[in-house]
Amino acid sequence: MTTDTARPPASRRIALPRVVQNYGVYAAVLALLAYNAVFTPHFLDGANLRTQLVQAAPIVIVALGMALVIGSEGIDLSVGSVMALAAAIIPLYLGFGVWPAVIMALVAGMAAGLFNGTLVAVVGLQPIVATLALLVAGRGLALVFAGGQLKQLHNPDLLALGDGDLAGVPVIVLAAAALTLVTAVLVGRTTYGRRLVAVGGNRSAAALAGLPVRRILITAYVLCGLFAAVAGVFATARLTASDPSAIGNLAELSAITAVVVGGTPLTGGRIRVLGTVAGALVMQLVRATLIKHDLPDSAAQMTQAAIILLAVYIARERRTR
């Protein structure tokens, strides 16, 4: 009843979830690996691990960009559509060679991010509404570019991005690892990254401290669009076809899930890069585990939903005031 006795229980209640929140996602990855090592035949075979990583890589890439935006107290619902947009752009420029095509796809992703960022930072729309526009319109635009149909791609350089190896490691996995490193350095070691976190943590304080809040926010959305386009290029290469109606479907939900499960709060002010990667891996492993044990895909989806709820519940504890 009195204030003096009210405090200690409050801090004790917070203490436990904080550990869980900081390291829970890594523990979950290890637990899933351990479980499968024992109960799933051939799970630790090189071929299977390779498959798991290759499948998780595009979501990792999208989630990294998403983590930047969520860290700014925003959200980007359009990443799946941006992936489709990138996929639709590739065949248009593939005639000039693989690099011009890839670069044009990435430029399209950044343009989409610029559009989102401008709506959020300059016009002042809520991020969820602003990016909802491109969630709908982006895929429509992609279908227009693609003429509404799937295009088989035969350019060997492009296909090498999808199934090629470099020193025995799939190119897509290397790309995801490289982008993870870049993002970690960006968030932890650069002026921009620290300012982004400050804007997400307390926007009015950041504005009062003279930070270029608009520019910082727009940049976050541009980077998120760029990462989504990178993921779109890899997804296209793996599919060996440009299919704007399928590529990136529900990618925004997978990415947000990975970020949240990884311990980045939706309220901004904190970006956990490695946690995001682990979050994507957890979701991938859960799915793989259930499928290998012959549970239907629907069960996998419901398990994923339960994990999201759990992650959000744990994250919620920290923000009680």
């Binding site: 204030t3 002026t191 400050a198 504005a207 009062l208 401290a209 003279g210």
Partner: protein, 513 residues
């Protein structure tokens, strides 16, 4: 009329929040047909009391007898049902619904079980005309003026057969003409026997409208009684907690002697104007001088400070530093010109709770301690160590999260954020509010030291003693305009209080709209 039984009688109302005793045994008695004023500075407990009376909070202790029955409202709805209607500062109506629908929300006229829109609109027009409001009642409420919205809220409260009307700063966003209408409506309501609890900081209004007053300070009733016999100075003294005769004797602040400065102005703000907030405020600040901004709550002190550093968009006005006008005024431009503002609301506008002490200190200085966009830890650590030592910031280390520090140490972190930019003008908005006594003395000593080093300081403080002891010169604001400037020997508490109690400046020049 004076022998009427009270409509509402509250005794010993106590409310505790974690860490604060918001209300401590407050008594309040309201009589039908009377307007009772409730006054007090920030944190005095007015809002808490209103929320208990209107059912938004429950009291921890105490008894409220309303209309002859002891009551304890669990929800705002219960209070409304008992005839207590509250009009908050921010009108709590639904901006996207039409005026008429807002007016009749929850008791719409029906015909054959369906809404009778035509009748509702006709009725609404008739009712509002009685309040001097002539608007298209089918328009969304959000599109009509603030004054008219206030009237709709009032009309709604009256139509609910309220016996007690609580008005929380109803005039803060009204034009003078609308204030007059509001007053005449209130007068007609009390004539019908309604009791009104009126919260405002505009003394002028209180003396015109109210018969009795209750003054709250730090959760306690410090004065209650008829308003007519109480002079303005005494009322202000009650609000600020300063006895008139004890003012000169003591000195518990840590400020040194006053300084006199006649150098050229470092910063000159002219004609700072924003509708409903600032009315042509001018302010001149010299290097090495502490300029105090005085005024009661809502006088426009914080807004003036924010306007100077570009954090409050202005309708007009200029800020000149060293004779050069700051163009495209923004926080970034202000910082480049050497100005920094320590905001009043530490949590909302100051600290970034999840970042470390180090990063909070360097938030504004980040580009200056970076190389090619990469953070340079060596340079950072040196600056942070210097300031943590100089300001005696008590933290587990520079990497501790600021959200975990005490209020006083958070405030020092914010001071360090600005001081490491080497500003020439520091604006401090309530720098010692909500921090412990030790930290308070340290901050006050620091202000002195900074001024002695040649920094220009603007000090805003509701603590009258702190203001008078700390400032070399005091500019007193009322209702968004400068009323007096006190210099040299004129800077003392009676003079400031006299200025605070003066007449509203805008009563004389109301033709500025």
């Amino acid at each position: 009329m004076s022998d009427l039984a009270p409509l509402l009688d509250a005794g010993g109302v106590t409310k505790r929040f974690p860490g604060v005793l918001a209300l401590d045994g407050v008594d309040l008695s309201l009589t039908p047909g009377r307007v009772h004023a409730l006054v007090g500075e920030n944190g005095a407990g007015k809002s808490t009391l209103i929320k208990i009376l209107s059912g938004a909070y429950r009291a921890d202790a105490g008894e409220i007898v309303h209309d002859g029955h002891p009551v304890a409202f669990a929800r705002p709805l219960d209070a409304r049902a008992a005839g207590i209607s509250t009009i908050y500062q921010e009108v709590n109506l639904i901006p996207l619904m039409s005026v008429a629908r807002n007016l009749f929300l929850g008791r719409e006229p029906r015909r054959l079980g369906l809404l009778d829109l035509r009748r509702m609109n006709r009725e609404a027009e008739r009712v509002l005309a009685g309040y001097g409001v002539h608007v298209d009642v089918t328009r969304p409420l959000g599109t009509i003026g603030l004054g008219a919205r206030q009237m709709v809220a009032l009309a709604r409260a009256v139509a609910e057969d309220a016996k007690l009307l609580i008005m929380d700063e109803p005039t803060s966003s009204l034009e003078p003409r609308e204030v007059e209408t509001l007053f005449s409506v209130v007068a007609s309501l009390t004539a019908k026997g309604m009791a009104v609890l009126y919260v405002s900081h505009r003394l002028e209004e209180l003396y015109r409208l109210c018969e009795t007053v209750t003054v709250l300070r730090d959760g306690r009733v410090v004065h209650t009684g008829p308003l007519a016999g109480l002079d303005r100075l005494a009322l202000v003294a009650h609000m600020l907690g300063r006895e008139l005769d004890q003012v000169r004797e003591e000195g518990t602040t840590r400020f040194g002697e006053h300084r006199d400065h006649t150098g050229p102005p470092l910063m000159r703000a002219e004609g700072l104007t924003k509708r409903h907030v600032l009315r042509g405020v001018g302010l001149t600040v010299r290097a090495g001088e502490v300029t105090g901004l005085g005024g009661l709550l809502g006088a426009g002190r914080s807004e003036t400070a924010k306007a100077i550093v570009g954090a409050l968009p202005l309708d007009s006005g200029t800020v000149t530093v060293d004779g050069r006008r700051v163009r495209r005024l923004s926080p970034a431009a202000a910082i480049r010109a050497g100005m920094a503002l320590l905001p009043e609301d530490r949590k909302a506008e100051g600290i970034v709770p999840d970042l470390s002490v180090r990063e909070n200190i360097l938030l504004a200085a980040m580009p200056r301690v970076s190389r090619f966009g990469f953070v340079s830890r060596k340079r950072q650590d040196r600056i942070v160590a210097t300031f943590m030592k100089r300001l005696r910031i008590k933290a587990a280390g520079p990497e501790q999260k600021v959200g975990e520090l005490s209020g006083g140490n958070q405030q020092k972190v914010l001071l360090a954020r600005w001081l490491c930019l080497n500003p020439r003008l520091l604006l401090l908005d309530e720098p010692t509010r909500g921090i412990d006594v030790g930290a308070k003395a340290e901050v006050q000593a620091l202000i002195d030291e900074l001024a002695a080093d040649g920094l220009a300081v603007v000090l805003i403080s509701s603590d009258l003693e702190e203001l008078v002891e700390g400032a070399d010169r005091i500019v007193v604001l009322r209702a968004g305009a400068v009323v007096t400037e006190l210099e040299g020997d004129d800077v003392d508490e009676p003079a400031v209080m006299a200025a605070l109690a003066e007449a509203e400046p805008w009563k004389e020049d109301r033709d500025d709209d």
